[in-house]
């Protein structure tokens, strides 16, 4: 009962703030029976507190549902039948209690505030749910389905209406009602949580509004977005309409690419024995053509290797066919490189060695090094090599 007392205190403070007409009867009710009051306050407090906070309607609804869910667990009622009876009689679901009036009025306030947001359907269902509790959920669901069918006419809603009719007969036990009401509240929460998607989708298409179809719709939108991206990627796919044809196109394209790779690897396998002669030139062309500026800057930042950068910078726009000189420089530069790029270097391997550092350099802190290198250089010993500055912006064309 400590919980109940706590809530009574809460209620008193909040009701004073509210200054509603139901203040006195509710208080009387609280004083007369602490047990009932605990229940009623448990039910009513979640509404009153958000009213004071005057947050957004989403917040209010969520608060209401969360507290209802936490304060009135179904197990409590199942374990204690007397408690369940009392809960049924004295909570907001009974009409003849004063506390119920208070909740009604509060809910009406809620509804009025909610209806300002244009979300009238859910709110109407909520008010129905709270005021007409004796009529059970079926009426509520009817109202929902009515609201739906007034706007949308499709098979799903008709089936909903049928279901609600069939459920009308089943709801006779009060405990069930309460649980169902909790579920209804959760449903409302789900509906209010993604308000944007919900409104957006419904306004456009007028389809089902339950969570599953919402999620499905979002998924479909994502997929179509991806398909558009793929359409841009695959050549000749722009003219094609229809998902299936487009998928065929994509599959064909990927397969052709894979076949191309296979073909090229076959050719390369035949050519490969000759490769040793060309290897160095190839690497120098492939690697350093694209990243010539890098080579410069790495060397320029080193003041100890003054002779080499000059040699390279003298021909900035040519291919680096002087690749044979690289290993020595790199070896001398290695500690510095390791320090700079803070990356583990692969083992030294003759000429090929310089290249792994270049990409890492390129990716990590190239720009800073570039600027540093140029700044140092032009201030210090190589004023005549400013011609390589445009080279640093050279585009990579492999």
């Amino acid at each position: 009962m400590e919980k109940g007392n706590l809530f009574i205190n809460d209620d008193n403070t909040t009701y004073e703030h509210l200054q509603n007409c139901f203040f006195n009867p509710n208080l009387d009710n609280n004083n007369s029976d602490p047990f009932e009051s605990a229940l009623s306050s448990m039910v009513s407090s979640p509404i009153s507190i958000p009213n004071n906070n005057s947050g957004s309607d989403n917040f209010v609804l969520r608060e209401l549902i969360g507290r209802l869910g936490s304060n009135l667990p179904p197990t409590q009622f199942t374990t204690d039948p007397g408690f369940a009876e009392r809960a049924a009689r004295f909570s907001c679901f009974a009409t003849n209690l004063e506390s119920n009036h208070s909740i009604k009025i509060q809910d009406v306030n809620l509804v009025q505030r909610n209806s300002e947001f244009g979300d009238s359907r859910e709110n109407s269902s909520l008010s129905e749910q709270m005021i007409g509790q004796n009529d059970t959920n079926s009426r509520k669901r009817k109202s929902i389905s009515k609201g739906k069918s007034s706007k949308i006419v499709n098979d799903k809603n008709e089936s909903n209406a049928k279901r609600s009719k069939s459920e009308e007969n089943e709801n006779k036990v009060t405990k069930k009602e309460e649980n169902a009401v909790l579920e209804e509240n959760k449903d409302n929460q789900k509906a209010t949580e993604p308000p944007k998607d919900y409104i957006h989708v419904r306004a456009r298409r007028g389809q089902a509004t339950d969570a599953h179809s919402l999620a499905e719709r979002v998924r479909r939108e994502k997929i179509s977005e991806r398909m558009k991206l793929l359409q841009d990627l695959v050549p000749g796919c722009n003219k094609v309409t229809g998902k299936a044809v487009m998928l065929d196109e994509i599959i064909n394209y990927v397969q052709s690419l894979q076949r191309q790779v296979e073909f090229l690897s076959m050719k390369l396998a035949t050519v490969n024995p000759r490769m040793d002669f060309n290897m160095e030139a190839l690497l120098s062309k492939d690697m350093f053509q694209s990243r010539g500026s890098l080579g410069h800057n790495m060397y320029q930042s080193e003041t100890s290797t003054q002779a080499f950068p000059y040699g390279f910078q003298s021909q900035p726009n040519q291919n680096y066919h002087k690749g044979t000189e690289f290993p020595f420089q790199i070896n001398s530069l290695n500690p510095n490189l390791i320090r700079n790029s803070s990356m583990q270097l692969p083992p030294l391997d003759g000429f090929v060695e310089p290249t792994p550092q270049v990409p890492t350099f390129f990716e990590d802190d190239l720009n800073s090094v570039v600027q540093m290198g140029f700044g140092q250089n032009q201030n210090q010993s190589f004023p005549g090599v400013a011609g390589n500055v445009p080279n640093s912006q050279m585009k990579v064309e492999l």
Binding site: I250, I251, V254, E262, M266, L283
Partner: protein
């Protein structure tokens, strides 16, 4: 931004691929299958473990001997209408459709750059 990224990927792929080709050449074990494997492996390792398809390729390469030994029959969603695409994209068997499309886009990108680089290398070698 994408161009610079693809450039980085291309150059890295070229480096790795050439390196493995060179190694292959030194060991005198060059055949087309090996070259193809090398191409795929270097592409996947360049792309890294961020992408599902590269992860699939890498794990396939690493566990090749294991896969040869015991051919497990996995449960496959063959009833899918997009099963064709799943078969083509590595690692596509276990993805949902949205991720499959995502991976396909990335895979196509890297395949095009791969083909580009390989063509260039072939040109340079044959001349």
């Amino acid at each position: 931004m994408t161009t610079t990224r693809s450039c980085i990927i291309r150059s890295r792929f070229a480096y790795r691929f050439l390196h493995s080709l060179r190694k292959m050449n030194q060991q005198d074990k060059t055949n087309s299958r090996r070259v193809k494997h090398a191409a795929y492996a270097s592409m996947a390792s360049v792309v890294g473990s961020k992408r599902a398809w590269s992860r699939a390729v890498l794990s396939k390469i690493r566990n090749r001997s294991l896969l040869l030994k015991k051919k497990k029959k996995r449960r496959r969603r063959s009833s899918d209408e997009f099963g064709e695409l799943r078969k083509i994209v590595p690692g596509g068997q276990l993805m949902d459709f949205y991720n499959l499309l995502d991976e396909t886009a990335d895979y196509i990108n890297s395949l095009t750059s791969q083909v580009h680089v390989m063509k260039n290398i072939l040109n340079l070698l044959s001349t």
